[in-house]
Symmetry: C2
Subunit: 288 residues, 2 copies
């Protein structure tokens, strides 16, 4: 059993009340999501500043280091200490990070919301990823997942303007994370997963409210999760990567509707709804 | 009159048709947005890789350099040559970029969709920005803007999964830009604006489908545009920056509805709709 890092549990308010003016010229008090900068120091060296809602900053930092491939396993980390007084996350490693200067020098600005910067080559490691061949998604399970998300109390419902990610095991919601940037949300899930001792990921499903960009697909694959579900659509590079790694990518998942963009052989159609009238299949033309 | 840079007009298809499977197990052909990597070289030195739809790559690169404050004016640029065969944008400056190594070394990963990385300190220059005091938005003009966007033919309508930005002069749509990342879209608008010779920006309105994050507000202010309208909401740092620079920030703008988050004194209420029944003002609780 690997050594677990020591983590603080720094918490901060997730929403803030502000007074706005509406179309009637009236004052209204509404909530907006909090957003704070968190500068990450690794062994006292400044690495990056993340803008975050701040719900689970320690898991976020851990997942960030893992997803950026700056660490290979959590036992490389001795502690992560977050202090919102100074907006800093201090990471102490056990043996330093090899060639950190070199590995953080290449800059790619990617499409996703939020943490849109990865160090190094996006495609470098994906060909070495082996997703579990047996991993499937049943259509009934997909509908249960979409419904569980719909029922979730959230910062989004109270304040809007955040993205959510969630991890399901079968139909059971294991972790639900919101952040101002959806890459923060998926990194937080990756951080949390790394702390669960050797849980098999074969039946895990990753859900995101955001688009399936290449980074989202890669991060899911890096976690070993072979099925990703999104309320939104997919970008071309997201699709390319999903096809390349054998990941089942499902988008536009609302109510009974969805589209499977890649690897439909992982999808078990056990709950096909009655055929819709033709008119309902026409493409909506409103931009909202 | 400043020297204008020589720009190629590299174009590439904006959508791609793919075959997907729907909830009935049927195959469907749909369009998804194109997404391609564009590596920017400045005087043969690699600067950054942008993921983009690729509609107006030269304006994008120009706006990127301006918004990152790597150049101060367009006459510093001799040419921008985009070649989609090698996914490269080659920027030739007239006199080099001063201290480019130093100025591109600090990394901040921000909230916005897409180009979420800025070099240097986000707040460094905002206190020096002076927005035109006379700039206002009439409510009737806001409704015309929202309607103009609604009527626009777009990649979003045909393929989804892109963000749009637009620049209005009064009620007239001057430029409409879509990209997989909304920061690319606003940078493209900044690049285009810089090529218009000394046009006064006092009556310009910036529209975005995305959230008003700090970066979006800062970029608008850097362009001298004092009013920003969004279909989405605002984040806390977006609000903080809007208040600090005196920018009128309007969100949740759909049909007749909107919320003014900051500097409502710039808003002229010349088209107040009839009071809505109380039930319509209750907060929606559906996450969709």
């Amino acid at each position: 059993m690997p050594l677990l890092p020591h983590l603080t549990e720094a918490r901060a308010p997730l929403t803030r009340e502000v007074v706005v003016m509406n179309q009637h010229g009236e004052r209204e008090t509404i909530s907006i999501p909090a957003e704070r900068d968190l500068t990450v120091y690794v062994d006292k060296r400044e690495l990056v500043t993340l803008m975050t809602l701040g719900a689970q900053p320690e898991w976020l930092v851990l997942g960030y280091l893992l997803n950026q491939r700056l660490i290979g396993a959590i036992d490389e980390i001795e502690s992560i200490t977050v202090d919102w007084e100074v907006n800093a996350a201090s990471v102490k490693t056990r043996h330093g990070i090899d060639r950190i200067e070199e590995r953080t020098s290449k800059r790619v600005v990617t499409t996703g919301c939020g943490q849109g910067s990865v160090f190094g080559n996006l495609m470098d490691e994906i060909d070495s990823i082996r997703l579990p061949e047996s991993a499937v998604l049943r259509q009934s399970q997909l509908y249960a997942i979409v419904n569980a998300i719909r029922l979730k109390e959230s910062t989004y419902k109270s304040a809007g303007s955040v993205h959510a990610c969630a991890l399901f095991h079968g139909e059971a919601l294991q972790l639900f994370v919101e952040d101002v940037g959806r890459h923060n949300a998926v990194d937080t899930i990756a951080g949390w997963m790394s702390l669960q001792q050797a849980a098999p990921v074969g039946e895990k499903i990753f859900y995101t409210t955001g688009r399936l960009t290449s980074e989202m697909v890669i991060k899911s694959a890096q976690m070993g999760v072979a099925v990703v579900v999104s309320r939104s659509g997919i970008t071309q590079m997201g699709l390319d990567v999903a096809e390349r790694v054998g990941l089942c990518a499902i988008g536009r998942a609302t109510h009974k509707h969805f589209l499977c963009y890649a690897n439909p052989q992982r999808l078990v159609l056990d709950a096909v709804p009655p055929a819709a009238p033709v008119v309902a299949r026409e493409r909506a033309t409103s931009p909202s």
